[in-house]
């Protein structure tokens, strides 16, 4: 795997994102929705924190991340440009990782723009900086994790709609898993709690950066990136 190749591919992918209006629409809708959930407790119950946002943002991300990543491979398959990419001197690993990085960069930029929300908190009150930074970090990890799922979903089909639905379904599974533990038998509760994204987010958003949570997010991303690479390789064997 060559860094130079990844740089070339990331730059191309970013051009695709920046040359197409849906990327801007998607980012604006995400910021508006998050802005609403940020402002609601601030004005309704005078609370200067990000609790409401960190509660709802993962659910918004189950839509936003697959929507951002659905075209990455599915579009290339549909337009047959995947044939161009795979016959150029790039490996499958380079192609998948570059697509994941470029989508992550767009996501990170969008989340970075949300910092303006928390800056306003400092004008109005004295919020807990650890909680603010932890909340953003949890959002970033969740977003990147769901993006890796989105990339994988995009390799499954040549239809962007199918890729979106599959990406949403898998992401929603991880979102839901931690929320339904009390419906499960006791022996499954701990496992479901670990698989679900909820417990890991709540630790981070309290300002507690636990290595186990970071390993959890990185493992999920790694697994889905690995699956995506394998899927792309299998496509050539058929």
């Amino acid at each position: 795997m060559r860094a130079e190749n990844i740089k070339t591919l990331v730059s191309k992918e970013l051009k695709h994102y920046l040359n197409t209006p849906p990327s801007y629409v998607l980012a604006s809708v995400f910021l508006l929705l998050c802005g609403y959930f940020f402002a609601q407790p601030l004005f309704l119950i005078n609370q200067a924190n990000l609790n409401s946002l960190t509660d709802i943002a993962p659910l918004i991300l189950t839509f936003f991340a697959p929507a951002l990543s659905m075209k990455l491979i599915a579009e290339e398959k549909k337009t047959q440009t995947i044939e161009i990419l795979l016959t150029m001197p790039f490996s499958e690993e380079e192609i998948i990782i570059s697509k994941f990085i470029s989508a992550s960069l767009i996501m990170i930029t969008t989340i970075f723009l949300m910092f303006t929300y928390s800056i306003t908190l400092y004008f109005l009150a004295k919020p807990d900086t650890g909680h603010i930074l932890g909340s953003y970090l949890s959002l970033l990890f969740t977003a990147v994790c769901f993006l890796s799922i989105g990339v994988f979903a995009s390799t499954l089909s040549s239809s962007q709609i199918n890729a979106f639905i599959s990406g949403f379904a898998i992401s929603f599974f991880f979102y839901l898993c931690g929320k339904v533990t009390f419906f499960l038998p006791i022996y499954l509760q701990e496992a479901a709690n670990y698989i679900g994204i909820d417990s890991h987010i709540s630790n981070m958003s309290r300002g507690v950066i636990d290595l186990r949570d970071i390993i959890y997010f990185l493992s999920i991303s790694f697994i889905f990136i690995y699956l995506s690479i394998n899927k792309l390789k299998n496509m050539r064997v058929r």
């Binding site: 130079e4 190749n5 070339t8 730059s11 191309k12 051009k15 695709h16 040359n19 197409t20 337009t79 047959q80 440009t81 044939e83 161009i84 795979l86 016959t87 150029m88 001197p89 790039f90 490996s91 050539r236 064997v237 058929r238």
Partner: protein
């Protein structure tokens, strides 16, 4: 030089290629000719490294093709239907291609000049005409100056002028390249190729130089047209294999085939003169590529 040996490829239960072997010589244009679904695109996809064969091997200049990325630099490839990144500008796309091969602006400039793309450089590829899109793909394929060009139906969908320009450009490139073009357009194949590979139902049915293939399938046959209703007197000539006669619009046409390979033009003219036959048209019946193609592909049906 491209050499393939016993390449087999199946999609589920369907055998797309049934152990094909062939050679594509250097500094030549070889045309892979076949009806739809014959296996042309699968062959080119395997040669370009997009698909892996189930069995068999591909060699480029005597070296076995493997998954090494360096091999991909030997090939310039235009896939079927000419896919392009429609939301990129021509410059952005060519810069991406150049960077992929660690090349600079000099190579982009050469490709742009060769493919006459200067006036559309700042335009989005999606807004270009089919002809320009084809040129953009050709510029992409030749930008890294590969010794091998694989072009899958490069003139499909182009108007006659655009198709002619593309063919001329390809002819120009053959000086220092091994070119393999797949097509089902026989006139294009006839106009452009030095060598022919005819593929049908996943098998190579005929291969060789265009001229020798035409010679192989040629018959010593002549077409004569006479004014009026003429009786068949040519039966008196020696060495006749077959005569077919057709009367139409007050004219009579004979197609005479001889058993030997001797040039019979003088004999025929003399015979017609002696018999005082009102000859109005006479020519040697040449075998065209479409006749060969039709004969070979129908034989295999």
């Amino acid at each position: 030089m491209i050499t393939t040996e016993n390449i087999t490829k199946s999609y589920g239960n369907f055998k797309a290629l049934k152990g094909i072997s062939f050679k594509v010589p250097s500094n030549n244009i070889t045309v892979l000719l076949g009806p739809n679904g014959a296996g042309k695109t699968t062959t080119l996809r395997i040669l370009a490294g997009y698909l892996y064969p189930d069995y068999g091997k591909v060699e480029y200049f005597g070296q076995k093709y493997d998954e090494n990325l360096e091999f991909k630099k030997l090939i310039g490839y235009i896939p079927e239907n000419n896919p392009v990144y429609e939301d990129l500008e021509v410059t952005e796309y060519l810069e991406f291609v150049a960077k992929s091969y660690y090349l600079g602006k000099k190579e982009i400039k050469i490709a742009v000049e060769r493919c006459a793309l200067k006036e559309v450089l700042g335009k989005k590829i999606g807004n270009l005409s089919k002809g320009y899109k084809q040129r953009v793909s050709l510029a992409k394929a030749i930008l890294h100056n590969p010794p091998i060009l694989l072009l899958d139906e490069p003139t499909t969908g182009l108007d006659p002028n655009q198709a002619y320009q593309t063919r001329e450009l390809i002819k120009e490139l053959k000086k220092d390249k091994t070119i393999l073009i797949s097509t089902h357009i026989l006139s294009e194949a006839e106009a452009i190729c030095d060598n022919i590979l005819i593929i049908n139902k996943g098998e190579i049915c005929a291969s060789g130089e265009k001229e020798s293939l035409i010679k192989q399938y040629s018959k010593n046959s002549y077409v004569l047209r006479f004014d009026g209703d003429i009786e068949n007197k040519f039966i008196e000539m020696e060495g006749i294999k077959e005569i077919t006669a057709k009367k139409e619009n007050g004219e009579t046409e004979f197609i005479i085939e001889f058993e030997n390979d001797k040039d019979m033009r003088k004999d025929i003219i003399n015979f017609a003169y002696e018999k005082k036959l009102p000859l109005i048209e006479f020519y040697k019946n040449k075998v065209t590529l479409d006749k060969i193609f039709s004969k070979i592909t129908k034989e295999r049906l």
